[in-house]
């Protein structure tokens, strides 16, 4: 009846149609369902971080949907107004692209009918995606995007961020330099270099670093690079030539490993290196780098070494690890679990699924948060968590050791960084 060529195309078309129609979606059979959309970079240069953020939200939903008496976080006992409700997640992939993230936010709200959105890791994606949610009066819980500008949009009523910002971290970094100058013999930290990926995250961090350092430290090297670089030779060569006393780095994922390896190859180190966000604090990257990762410092919202300060994390982390093949939480992913748990607490307190009422409740209360360093979360206008905290750690022997502020420290810093040939 059909020629072979025609048959091929008919079979191909039918296969595509079947594939598009056959994949299972989340079940809506239950009446009491609260659909939450997630937007994370599940593919692209920071896919690993995105996958962990996705697993972190799933962890929170596992806790909320099941009775977990061993877990000491609010609502784990599954009693109260939310009893009988199930949270259902609809995951999407932003690919780290703002236009894709915005389109997915629209689809989640208009097609999937989600009640709220959690995301989007990349600051550049969180911006436009949260604008879509704001117009639709849907709550947007942002765990880990660090650009300070996101919570400087005072007109936003439905946007909430649990993590710290690069503005706060920059201030902490300059405090560390002042403390080292005061406490370490011959520290004499006067000059500063900044290396950052040329993205919204990196540029924002660099701007905040310059603001925090203004009048205190002389910036001798301002070194941007393109994320996903195949080599950083010229960037590290520039730093080596300027030889700043301290280095601030806003370097994500695999780029961070490349930066450290290139510094070793060129046999250069500053006296102290402080790093923003996920490159430094990624446990997988730290493990890959081995001893080379040691003596670098950075801001850390969570690492497994913090468990004595945050005992509730251990049980929660077991669920998380079961979803990530044994990889523990890092500072970013734990924020996504916190965001989901705080949102659920607000619904419970408001006893309503009216987004406006829940958003007002989020602002009006201080939320217990055993997974946060400060143990609590509260939002100020613009949606920033005023209790967001991070501790400055230093990698020593592959462990994140707490070094600053001194009242939280458990170890003295190795200063200056140990030269490559003496390790």
């Amino acid at each position: 009846m059909f020629k072979p060529r025609m048959k091929f195309w008919i079979v191909a078309a039918v296969a595509v149609a079947l594939m598009l129609g056959a994949a299972p979606g989340p079940s809506l059979a239950q009446d009491k369902v609260i659909k939450i959309g997630t937007i994370f970079p599940l593919t692209g240069p920071v896919a690993l971080a995105g996958q962990r953020c996705k697993a972190a939200v799933e962890t929170a939903v596992d806790i909320l949907n099941n009775k977990n008496p061993a877990i000491k976080v609010p609502l784990a006992d599954k009693k109260g107004w939310l009893e009988g409700y199930k949270f259902v997640l609809v995951h999407t992939d932003s690919q780290g692209k703002p236009d894709v993230g915005k389109a997915e936010a629209e689809r989640l709200i208009n097609q999937e009918g989600v009640w709220a959105i959690i995301g989007a890791y990349n600051s550049a994606v969180s911006g436009p995606a949260s604008l879509v949610a704001e117009r639709a009066k849907k709550i947007f819980m942002c765990g880990a995007s660090s650009a300070a500008s996101l919570t400087q949009r005072k007109e936003m009523k439905y946007f909430f961020r649990t993590a710290s910002t690069d503005e706060v971290e920059s201030q902490e970094f300059t405090d560390v330099l002042a403390w080292l100058n005061k406490t370490q013999k011959n520290a004499n930290l006067k000059t500063l270099g900044i290396i950052y990926e040329n993205s919204v995250f990196g540029k924002n961090a660099a701007q905040q670093a310059m603001k925090a350092a203004a009048g205190k430290y002389q910036i001798v090297a301002d070194v941007p690079f393109n994320p996903g670089a195949t080599n950083l030779n010229s960037e590290i060569q520039t730093l080596k030539a300027k030889n700043p006393d301290a280095l601030f780095g806003a370097v994500l994922g695999a780029d961070y490993a490349l930066m450290v390896k290139t510094m070793k190859k060129m046999n250069w180190l500053p006296k102290v290196s402080l790093n923003y966000c996920s490159g430094y604090q990624d446990p997988v990257i730290a493990k890959q780098l081995g001893a080379d990762a040691d003596f670098f410092m950075g801001s850390t919202g969570y690492s497994p070494e913090f468990q004595s300060m945050m005992p509730a994390v251990a049980e929660v982390e077991k669920i998380f690890k079961s979803k990530t093949g044994g990889v523990p939480y890092d500072s970013d992913s734990i924020q996504e679990t916190i965001a989901m748990l705080v949102l659920a607490q607000a619904i419970e307190k408001a006893k309503s699924l009216d987004s406006t009422k829940v958003a007002e409740t989020l602002y009006a209360n201080t939320w217990p948060s055993p997974l946060s360093l400060s143990g609590k979360v509260a939002f100020v206008p613009g949606g920033q968590n005023k209790f967001a905290l991070s501790i400055i750690t230093q990698l020593q022997g592959g462990k994140y050791k707490k070094v600053f502020p001194t009242e939280k420290a458990d170890t003295k810093p190795v200063f200056p960084m140990k030269p490559w040939d003496k390790r």
Binding site: V16, A23, T43, K54, D99, R107, E155, N198, V200
Partner: protein, 339 residues
């Protein structure tokens, strides 16, 4: 009337009918995902048609169109974000700038031929990408984020409904496809195709190939910039990675090649296949992680390109030809039989 009704006439009739029905499409849901896909289909068809002028009809494979697209996007974006104006003057400035930049960079590049021209245009995207990343006046790596402005045609922004965007995309579509349709039958179009077929031969017949290629590039760049202005108004954000990237340049080329380069319908056919595939596979499988959607999307492109390198319009043409031959053979057989 001495012409008989042909199969291609039927295709054109269907095409015109679809265009005529297009204004009724918002009835399917002013803010639906389907509406988003339709808008993207028209936008990508327009972008590819703009590229088709120089890449398809002119035979000059440019991987640099993301630069012109980006200039248009930045023109509109800066008007709104930096200067607090409506996007229109910025879009106009972007269109003119893109045409000027196209002529300036194409003049030396056109001295190269074949693969070397394509490689040179690749490099230009990287140069502009780096330049815009560190240029503070255009927002640098931070890009430009739109604030909330009044909705409507004046600001070319709509938040709660996509109907306005749909009509804008439709207007853009009619304009760009109309221009290319006009060029097809115009002397300039013949010159362009003559240059593609053989530059030396065309020149020996009196065609100024440099002027023809530069004019085509300027027009192509200006139309790409117009698409860029629409893109930024639709996404309410612009940064170098979004618009001035090799990824974006590849979209111009891929859609056209997939549909059929050097044909009027090719860009529309390519966009009508590629965009829904991209959007629906992502919607269906993107959330699984691991790039399942991208793998399936890539496999389908490979499938089409392997089966028919001349694109989807090539497939249609093949089928039409085979049917024509079969009909002729039957007719011939019948004639022989009655002879």
């Amino acid at each position: 009337m001495n012409k008989t009704f042909r199969r291609t006439d039927l295709l054109w009739l269907a095409f015109t009918g679809l265009i005529a029905l297009a204004p009724l499409v918002p009835a399917i849901g002013s803010n639906s995902f389907l509406m988003h896909v339709l808008i993207l289909v028209m936008l990508y068809a327009c972008m590819s048609q703009a590229w088709n002028i120089i890449g398809g009809y002119g035979g000059q494979t440019s991987f640099g169109h993301a630069v012109f697209f980006g200039i248009g996007a930045y023109g509109a974006g800066m008007a709104v974000v930096t200067y607090g104006l409506p996007p229109w003057p910025g879009a106009l400035a972007g269109i003119v700038s893109a045409a000027v930049v196209a002529v300036l960079i194409s003049y030396p590049c056109f001295k190269l031929s074949g693969h070397y021209f394509a490689i040179a245009t690749f490099a230009i995207v990287e140069i502009f990408n780096r330049m815009f990343l560190v240029w503070d006046w255009v927002g640098g790596a931070l890009g430009l984020d739109y604030m909330i402005v009044e909705e409507g045609f004046a600001n070319l922004v709509w938040y709660d409904s996509k109907t306005g965007y749909f009509y804008c995309a439709l207007t853009l579509f009619a304009l760009i496809f109309g221009i290319v349709r006009f060029l097809e039958g115009h002397r300039f179009g013949y010159y362009l195709r003559a240059v593609r077929a053989g530059q030396e031969t065309a020149e020996s017949l009196g065609v100024n190939s440099t002027a023809v290629k530069l004019s085509a590039m300027a027009l192509s760049a200006a139309l790409a910039a117009l698409c860029g202005a629409f893109f930024v108004q639709y996404n309410l954000r612009v940064d170098p990675a979004m618009v001035m990237s090799l990824d974006m340049s590849m979209k111009f080329v891929l859609v056209t090649i997939l549909g059929g380069a050097g044909t009027l319908a090719g860009p529309l056919v390519g966009a009508a296949v590629l965009v829904p595939l991209q959007e629906f596979t992502r919607a269906k499988w993107g959330g699984l992680g691991g790039g399942v959607d991208l793998i399936i999307f890539g496999l389908l492109i490979i499938l089409i390109v392997v089966k028919q390198p001349a694109g989807i319009t090539g497939i249609v043409r093949d089928i039409a030809k085979r049917r024509g031959r079969k009909a002729a053979a039957e007719k011939g057989g019948a004639s022989l039989g009655t002879a």
